[in-house]
């Protein structure tokens, strides 16, 4: 800690986590978005997470009205939301209390709380305030009262349209953020609004900075590491949308569903400049049908949804698989079952994505592990779908969808955009399902191709696409559709192991938990623990070499955001215990006695919780992996 000339403490720290906690409608997202982007542009690693209420504008000043954002930023790459926040901006005591109750704030968290409530004229508000402060007194939070509303009113008439920018100014001063970058962000966000809005917002930021200069005696310095590559910063849904454009998708058929919808917002804004469009269907089923119709007609089509929408599309996906029409489905997972937790993260669509059809319906399922992979997986998915005439399901989740992170700017390849099919006449004698007996692959024939007339059917069919209930014909079709999966698997490499190639424990994850798992494994390894991890991308087919990798570790455990029974709970025995979804899959796949630690709190996993369970697993005396 060093002391600046004007007696301000400047503490240099490798990273910090900030929460902006408000009523919904008070602009926390904009404030956080600009702050996060500014940090990224200044060379910090960044990860942001949205705190979203289920309603658009729930009653204000309650513990359920909390809307906000967590921004974790640091010197190095940041891959997850971390453990707890070290500084919080809170617009009232009740939304702050909700975060306290979720154990989201560090014991020594600095809390910049709105000053208006302590001495509110409203007796009830004062009582609530006092009770909240009493409840939070169990922690050593450092409270600083800030007149957000009073200061904002000096510049704008409606404080709800100004407090957020005043708060941004305070953060900018505390963390030494570059005002010119903030100004550019503000100008960009409000580019479709009158200039006065931009001007006022900048004034508010400046006023926040001035207030902090005058009133706060601490600053944090987070060093940034210069980088010599081009980077972009966005959330996972934006990355999926831009990835879809980069992959050459010409149609996105969708129906609104949280948290997938914003992919279609981002696409709708730009895709027509790329010769494509977004079709909002009457329902989830129709969205699948329209995408399948378009793909059948030779166009590259995508449908975007979340869990309940996946359930509705089930029958159509089986049809696409049966008639071998390429189709890419993006499932931005949320908490289930049923309507579940619409705005929250869960990794519980894995098994239904792989097996959610009546009959045998092989398809490719892959999961993006990072926001960068949200982009690239769209390109990969299209390529697999077309090469194998296959349904490809891309799983992301609410954590990736709304998390913001920077990544290497993709180098676009013009070949990603190429039209799918050569439309020259069909060679004489070519059948619609001219399955290569080795690979199950066949040439795609689409309307417009001369001499190719045939009728695709969801009924069992032969190579000529004629309805056939003949036993051998049905078995051949099954075999050929399944074979493609094995052929595709042969093109994959075994997953990379993070950490040593062998050891006491291997943690296996999939999708968005990568960052938190790696952080936890790093912590354990720093203490000399022999822990490694692999993070799977391909779930159907599974990546090769897993059994061999597992054999090099004494214990193998999955870490997932979904439900599993806890050993020791009532009625839970070795016979009744239900495992996490990846654990279930891997146990069946490898016959290895794989354990799991799963949790479904409706929020991303904390590295410390994973770490604690790694240690518990290492120290447990039960038999590890069957030799």
């Amino acid at each position: 800690m060093s002391k600046a000339a004007n007696s301000v403490d400047i503490q240099e720290v490798p990273e910090h986590t900030v929460e902006i906690i408000t009523n919904s409608g008070e602009g926390a997202q904009k404030c956080a978005q600009i702050f996060g982007q500014t940090c990224a542009k200044m060379g910090n690693g960044v990860w942001t997470v949205e705190i979203i209420p289920a309603e658009i504008e729930p009653p204000h000043h309650t513990v359920t009205s909390t809307s906000g954002n967590i921004i974790r930023f640091g010197k190095d790459k940041i891959t997850n939301w971390g453990d707890q926040s070290k500084l919080a901006i809170a617009f009232n005591d009740q939304v702050l209390l909700s975060r306290h109750r979720l154990d989201s704030l560090r014991d020594d968290c600095i809390i910049l709380l709105e000053a208006a409530w302590e001495k509110s004229e409203d007796e009830e508000l004062r009582r609530m305030y006092d009770e909240a402060m009493e409840e939070m007194s169990s922690k050593n939070y450092k409270f600083i009262l800030v007149p957000y509303e009073e200061e904002a009113l000096k510049i704008v008439d409606n404080p709800n349209h100004g407090k957020n920018m005043f708060a941004l100014g305070i953060l900018a001063e505390i963390y030494g953020r570059d005002l010119s970058i903030i100004e550019k962000q503000i100008a960009n966000i409000f580019r479709f609004k009158p200039q006065k809005i931009t001007d006022n917002n900048i004034k508010l930021v400046e006023s926040g900075m001035a207030w902090a200069k005058k009133n706060l005696d601490f600053r944090f310095h987070i060093p940034s590491v210069p980088f010599d590559e081009q980077r972009i910063v966005m959330n996972g849904n934006q990355a999926s949308a831009l990835g879809a454009v980069a992959a050459g998708f010409e149609l996105c058929a969708m129906y609104p569903i949280t948290p997938a919808t914003s992919v279609s917002h981002d696409l709708a804004e730009i895709i027509e400049n790329y010769g494509g469009f977004v079709h909002q269907s009457e329902d989830e089923i129709a969205a699948a049908g329209v995408a399948i119709g378009a793909s059948y007609a030779g166009k590259t089509a995508l449908t975007v949804t979340s869990g309940p929408g996946m359930a509705l599309k089930t029958e159509f996906l089986a049809l696409a698989i049966m008639i071998e029409v390429p189709l890419v489905v993006l499932d931005v997972q949320r908490g289930g079952p049923s309507t579940g937790l619409p705005t929250k993260v869960e990794q519980a669509d894995l098994l239904s994505s792989i097996y959610g059809q009546p009959g045998d319906a092989p398809r490719v399922v892959l999961a993006a592990r990072t926001i960068e992979e949200c982009f690239h997986s769209m390109i990969t998915a299209r390529r697999i779908a077309e090469t194998f005439r296959m349904v490809v399901i891309v799983l992301t989740d609410a954590n990736l969808a709304t998390g913001v992170q920077q990544f290497t700017r993709p180098e676009l390849d013009v070949r990603w955009q190429q039209g799918a099919i050569d439309q020259s006449p069909v060679p004489e004698g070519l059948r619609p399902y001219e399955w290569d007996p080795e690979t199950g692959l066949s040439k795609r024939v689409i309307p417009g191709m001369k001499n190719g007339q045939h009728t695709v059917t969801g009924l069992a069919h032969d190579e000529e696409s004629l309805v056939s209930y003949h036993p051998s014909s049905n078995e051949l079709g099954m075999k050929m559709r399944s074979r493609k999966l094995a052929v595709f698997q042969s093109t994959l490499k075994p997953p990379e192991i993070y950490g040593d190639e062998e050891g006491d424990l291997l943690v296996v994850g999939w999708g968005s938990t990568q960052g938190a798992i790696v952080d936890a494994v790093d912590r354990a390894r720093a203490e000399g623990r022999k822990v490694s991890t692999v993070q799977l991308t391909f779930l159907s087919p599974l990546e090769p070499g897993l059994k061999e990798i597992f054999s090099r570790f004494d214990k193998v455990m999955t870490v997932e955001i979904n439900y599993s029974d806890t050993p020791g709970d009532p009625y839970i025995t070795e016979e009744t215990r239900r495992y996490g979804q990846l654990a279930w899959l891997l146990r069946a796949h490898t016959l290895v006695d794989i354990d799991c630690w799963t949790s479904c709190p409706g929020q991303p996993l904390r590295p410390r919780d994973i770490y604690n369970n790694i240690i518990a697993k290492l120290e447990s005396t039960e038999e590890g992996v069957a030799a």
Binding site: E282, V290, T455
Partner: protein
């Protein structure tokens, strides 16, 4: 491919080659003897021949049911999908490949029951396609269950005491949908009228909904018996912008001049159940067509890459 398809391999689809109705039949229909679907298939074949549609640029889409086997028998591209979902598939084809001629065949269960949501919205999208709703008032393929259009009191395996509710009227329902642009009714026992109606449906630039009244020889052989036996119970709607078949003037004495542009009259005629009316109830060629509204200019692959690179600037760090 079938022998008929193979015989087409040598044909060029330029103006010098004239395809006959039978050239459009891929294989014989496998419906029960006396099924109304045969009549519809014959009329379709004649229409395709008359319009000389290129088989490879024509797509028949269907759902599930007896009538949904239709695409298997037509020598064009075909899509035999899942129950109730023909319209979304057809929409997907038409909005991305508007140059293709798209036909949809559905049954009453397909269209008015399990696929009713799609029916309403497809009507509103008004994509340019011919939609044949083959209405035999019963679920035939699954063997005799009540459909929404089954007459009240008519017995089936699921309503042994007779259908409980008044039948759903597909004409009134379609005419009630915003942006509905073509609604017609014809019958399997009046082939000349069916052909003329299909012809008009094909010519109409929009979603042409044609309800074809037909009998299921197994389960509803008698639903239209009175009208079949007594042409006086049938009224033809005629107009220079509708359907007017001179050869039918002798048989059908009751003919009403009805301007298909008059939606109020169309709705009122559809609501009346004093007679069975055949003809074009409503037709408006000026209504917006979804694929026209959504048409976007083509962009070269190189240009797409340029534009996306510019897009990245918004997100640049």
């Amino acid at each position: 491919m079938s022998s008929i398809a193979l015989s087409l391999l040598d044909l060029e689809t330029d103006s010098t080659v004239c395809l006959q109705a039978d050239d459009y039949q891929k294989r014989p229909g496998k419906w029960c003897a006396g099924c109304g679907d045969f009549g519809a298939l014959n009329a379709v074949k004649r229409l395709l021949a008359k319009e000389q549609l290129q088989p490879e640029k024509t797509v028949f889409v269907s759902g599930i049911g007896c009538s949904s086997r239709f695409p298997h028998y037509v020598n064009t591209y075909g899509f035999h999908g899942i129950h109730g979902r023909a319209l979304p598939v057809a929409t997907g084809i038409k909005i991305t490949r508007p140059e293709l001629d798209v036909f949809v065949t559905m049954g009453d269960g397909d269209c008015t029951s399990i696929g009713a949501g799609h029916w309403i919205h497809a009507t509103r999208y008004n994509c340019n396609m011919v939609v044949l709703m083959l209405d035999n008032n019963i679920y035939g393929l699954t063997k005799n269950q009540t459909s929404p259009t089954t007459p009240q009191g008519y017995k089936s395996m699921t309503s042994p005491k007779g259908a409980h509710l008044p039948a759903l009227d597909p004409l009134q329902a379609t005419l009630g949908v915003s942006n509905a642009s073509f609604v017609a009714q014809t019958a399997d026992w009046v082939p000349a009228h069916m052909f003329a109606t299909m012809q008009a449906a094909y010519e109409h630039p929009g979603f042409s909904f044609v309800r074809i009244l037909q009998r299921c020889p197994k389960f509803t052989p008698d639903v239209f018996l009175d009208a079949v036996q007594n042409p006086d119970l049938v009224e033809l709607l005629v107009h220079e912008n509708g359907v007017d078949v001179p050869s039918l003037q002798q048989l059908f004495k009751s003919r009403r001049r009805h301007d298909p542009l008059n939606l109020d009259d169309a709705r009122s005629l559809a609501r009346r159940n004093d007679m069975l009316r055949l003809g074009i109830f409503f037709r408006d060629d000026s209504l917006p067509v979804y694929e026209d509204l959504r048409a976007v200019p083509k962009v070269s692959a190189e240009e797409k890459v340029n534009r996306l690179n510019k897009e990245f600037e918004r997100y640049a760090v």
